[in-house]
Each structure stands twice: as C-alpha cells, then as structure tokens.
Amino acid sequence: MLTRDLFGLSFHNLLLHKVRSTLTSLGVIFGVGSVIAMLSISEGAKQKALAQIEAMGIDKIIVYSKKPPIAGKDSGQDNSSMTESFGLEKKDLIHIGKMDNIDRITAMRDGRKKILKGLQRLDLKLVGVDRSFLIDSVSDMGKGRWLAPADFKNRRKVCVIGKNVKRKFFSLGERRVIGRFIRIEGDIFRIVGIVDNNLGTQYPELGSPNDMIFIPMSTSMALFGNYAFTREGRSVKILNIEYDLMIVKVMELEHIDNTSKRISAYLQTSHSKVKDWGILVPLDLLKQRERTQNIFTIVMSSIAGISLVVGGIGIMNIMLANVYERRKEIGTRRALGAQKSDILLQFLIETVFLTTLGGLIGIGVGIGISQVITYYADMPTVYLWWSIVLSMVISSLVGVVFGTYPAWKAAQQNPIEVLRAE
C-alpha cells in the first residue's frame, strides 16, 4: 500500500467519527496542556526569582548586619543597658578590604529615621551610602544626578531618592521634584536625583533601593554618628551600628566561593560572641535556586506526564474497542489483499494522528491556561520552545506506545473468523 494512501485512509477514518476522535484525544489534550502550562509557569517563576537574585549582582558578596537573637532575659547581659551594639564595624570593612580578590567594598548605613508625610509614617529608609553604591546596586539614574564627590567631601545635606520614594512622598501631579527639599526628623535635604532600580533588587534587612533615600555616608556620620534611637514599647533604646550592609565586589568570579568563605571565617572569629552578621552570595543563591527550580520543574512535569500516560491508556482502550467494532472492515480488507502490515500501519497511524492532533490542541490549551494564570494570578509565564517541541514528540510517542497493541491486535485478526462473525 502506498504511504500516501495509508495516511489518507487513516485520516479519513478519524474524520468519520469526529466526536469520538475528539473525546478519545481529550486525555492527551489535557495531558499536553498541563505539561505546557506547568513548564511555562515554573519557568516564569524561575526566571523571576533568578532575575531578582541576579539583580544583586553575581560578582558580589553581600555582608549585612542583623539583630542577634535575643541574648535571653536569664543571661541578664545587656538587658539593663540602654545601648545595644551589634553588626558590622569599621574594622571589618578595613580587614575585608585587605583580603585577596576584593575589588572594592560599598558600605551602607541605615539612619533608622522615622519618615513622615504629615502624620503618616512611610515605609522608607534614609541610608548613608558610598559613592560606588549606584553601580554596585546595579541601579540607574532615573532623573537628575547621583551623589557627587563634593557632596561627600563637604558633607552636604543632599539626597537622591528611589523612584518609589517620589511616588509615596509627592502627589501624582508634581513633576518637578529635583531641587526640592525633603525634611526628615528635623534635617532638611535637597533632592538632586531619582534612582531607578528596575531589576527588583532586594537587600536582606533593608529591602529595595527604590524605597531608599540616599545621603552621602560622610553626611550621615556627621549628622547621626553611629547611634540611632529606637522605641520598643515604652523604653527607648540606643542602637550602635556602624554599617548595615557591605557590597563586596570580587575581582575574579571563579574564586568567589573562596573569598566568601574567607570573609565568613574572619567574621566568625571577630564576632565570636553573637552571630550579628549574615553573608549572602547571589551566585550561590542563583545556583541553589536553579537546582531547586529544576527539581520543581521535573516533579511538576512528571505529574503532568502521568496524565499523559492515563490519556494514552484511554486511547488504547478505545482503539481496542474500535478494532473489535471494525472486524468486518478488517476481514474484508484482508480478503481483498491487504497485508497484515497494511492493517497494522492503518490502525497505528490512526492512533498517532489522534495523539499528535491532541498534542497540537493541547499546546493551545496549555498556552491558554498559562495566559489565564498570568492574567488572574499575576504570575509570569514563559514558554520554552523545547517544551512545545517535546510535547509534540511525546504526544506522538504516546500514540506509538499505546497504539501498537491495538494495531497489532487488528493485524492478527483472522479474516475467516472476522467474516464469519458477520
């Protein structure tokens, strides 16, 4: 039998029973649909997470201060004291700066000021930064300029604000913000620029650069020193923290692991009393995240794959019934000279057609599902070309795997029996 005739015949037979063919391939349609949707959702989540990590810079090591776990009231230490000191210090900055493979360090200090708009407290931070912060935080200038060397040298009371600060502080209509003044706990700063960090960088304990008001580190030191007042319940505490964050840029990326280990080792010995620091290597995080995401993807697609197997079994079942129902046709074809292989291929191609068409429709369904999820659940979805190709290949394979037995069964039908049964 000519190949073209074989394909024509199989296709013709499927079209004869449109409803049955559609119902038969539903399993594959939803199987492929869920594979595509799962993969696009997990890929979207992965890319979003990776972008956030990458936004911290993969050639950076982030070292930060964190409030140590409460020493415990039983221990009695420091409890009575009004001053609480913890976190990264100047000597740490100097020591780490002298290590191998360190390009530069950008330090940041949170002023811990209450930022008010009228009587409403805004969730913003006033931070003192080094001049290199703009580059090291992978941020851009939206408008105006970044803090200039003269601002640092002269301890000027100027500030650069994050883009969210502008939105929260000023009403929508106000276009011209640069050159205006902002008042924070009695100090007045002139705004010289707006920072835009569109990568979604989030620093531990501090949050996004878009929610920060940056002033020169020297100005911060001159105005506030190392001290900050906080109120906890009724008691007022004085916090003594020199630096809240250090962005350590390494020279050679391949040695970033060693460098971060050395920094950790140093901090462990110099801050041996309490663990009041944290370290974060975005590259490590990236790798770790990628690993967990890959596992997630495998698990999700396996679950979706099971539905494909279930769909395949459904198809096999219906094809077996189909073979029984079409015994007369098979017998007649055999009597008219069809080879066993002609019958086998006819039924096999019918099944593969069904599953491949099901796969095609399934891809559409999958894309539809992920679009709906993106729209309603606000989750990013990313289609991978290989997932679409793979779905097509797998759905055709499902046809081959689950179509072979019914097709073989059809070919084995004894034409005499089949004709006699009529």
Binding site: M1, L2, D5, L9, H12, N13, L16, K328, E329, T332, R333, R334, A335, L336, G337, A338, Q339, K340, S341, D342, P415, I416, L419, R420, E422
Partner: protein
C-alpha cells in the same frame, strides 16, 4: 457458445489434489474436507453446492486463500499455494482472486468509485490509473452514473454490482463468490446471475459457492459437497459440463 469456448480450453487454472482440512478444537479433531480433487479451467462458470456443514465454506476459504489446507495440494496457475506464507497469500488474493460476498461488504463511508479502488490501493496502483479503471468497471456493471454515490444510497442489486466491479479491479484469474444472491430478491438475483454470465462470456472464470438449487441451471458445471466429500457433479472438466443426477 460458452460451452464451445470452455471445451476449447484445456489449461488448468486451479487444481486441488487430495485436499484435506481438519479443525482441531482442544483435543477434538473435526475433519471438514476429506480428500477433494477438483479442477477449474480458464473461462469456466462453476457452481459449488452444499448444505450447511457440508464443508463448502471451508472450501471457499481455501480456494480464496484465507485458509490453508491440512493436507493435499492447491495449485493456482502452476503456483503451489498451499504452503505459502501469509504475506504471499495476501499478495495472491489481491492480484489473482476477486472476492464477492453475500452481504457485499462494501465500505459504507467510501464512494462507489473509492470502493472499487480498494484492491488496487493494496496493489499499489497509482491514483490516476485507479480512477480510470474504477470508471471503466463502473460502466461495465452499468453503474457509471453512480460512481460518486455511497453504498447506502444504492439498492442491494446495485451494491452487489459494485462488489463485482471491485472484485474485477485487479484483473484477477478468477472470481470467487460466496452466496452472491443470498441477500437479493428473485428479480435482482436474476440480474446478478446475468451479469456473471456476461462476464463469463467475456472470458472471466467464475466460481460461485451457494446452497440455492435454483441457480444450478446457470452453471457450466456444478460440484455438490456432502460431509466433506464430493457427492455428485463433475470435479474435473470434461468436454462439456454434465450432470450426474
């Protein structure tokens, strides 16, 4: 005329020599054909008669190469087909035998034209040639105007004509019909038998298996089976057909 034609031909088309067929169901042996010697010559019109259980269906299956004998020889145009493999038999069925069934066995979802083409499809005949041949055959069975219809739109007699056209499509060595008038009324039966006569006059060898004694007069020669043996009739061709009864 027909008799004259037949008597001129001496070359055998089909030879069955000491043919046995036994079915085995578990430990039970059921002998169905018990040593048949039958010959058909080219251009003959032969009727094989027998009641239910006489072995005529089994003989039909073996003649049609849907089944193989347990013992004995089957020659078709000097080809020994009794021991052939399944795929060889399928090829011979396709090229050398034209099957006609009692209930026509047309494919309801195909047009008349496509139905006639089916054996040619399995014979790898190119599409254009198939169309051409189907049209010719349609004309030959006087249904040239119904080629685009479906079998469900045709009467029983018309369906059987199409089935005959289909059987002729690969120019087979002989036509093998199983109760071809079994599902038809008397008038239509007569028309179909006439068509067989016409085809026979044009040179086709036709073997019809039936239990209908009314058809007996139409054949050049008849073979009667009873209990797996030839009860009467002429298993081999003599100068002219004769009837023992």
């Amino acid at each position: 005329m027909t008799q004259q034609q037949n008597s001129d031909k001496s070359d055998h088309l089909v030879r069955l020599i000491d043919l046995y067929k036994t079915y085995y169901t578990g430990t039970l042996e059921v002998p169905v054909l018990k040593g048949l010697d039958i010959e058909f010559n080219k251009g003959e019109f032969v009727g094989i008669f027998g009641s239910s259980g006489s072995g005529k269906s089994t003989l039909l299956n073996i003649l049609g190469m849907l089944d193989t004998p347990t013992a004995g020889k089957y020659y078709l145009e000097e080809l020994e087909v009794d021991q052939m493999e399944d795929h060889e038999l399928a090829t011979i069925r396709n090229k050398k035998i034209g099957f006609i069934f009692q209930s026509f066995n047309l494919f309801p979802h195909l047009t008349v034209e496509q139905n006639i083409e089916v054996p040619m499809v399995y014979g790898n005949v190119p599409k254009r040639e198939r169309r051409e041949r189907a049209r010719e055959l349609g004309e030959q069975v006087k249904l040239g105007h119904r080629l685009k219809h479906r079998p469900t739109q045709l009467s029983g007699g018309e369906c059987q004509r199409i089935a005959i056209a289909r059987a002729l499509s690969n120019n087979p060595s002989f036509l093998l019909a199983d109760e071809p008038t079994g599902n038809l009324d008397e008038k239509t039966s007569g028309e179909i038998i006439k068509l067989f006569h016409d085809l026979n006059d044009q040179g086709s060898t036709i073997v019809i298996v039936t239990h209908d004694p009314a058809l007996e007069a139409h054949f050049d020669r008849t073979i009667h089976l009873r209990d797996g043996r030839i009860s009467h009739g002429s298993p081999i061709t003599f100068g002219s057909p004769h009837y023992v009864d």
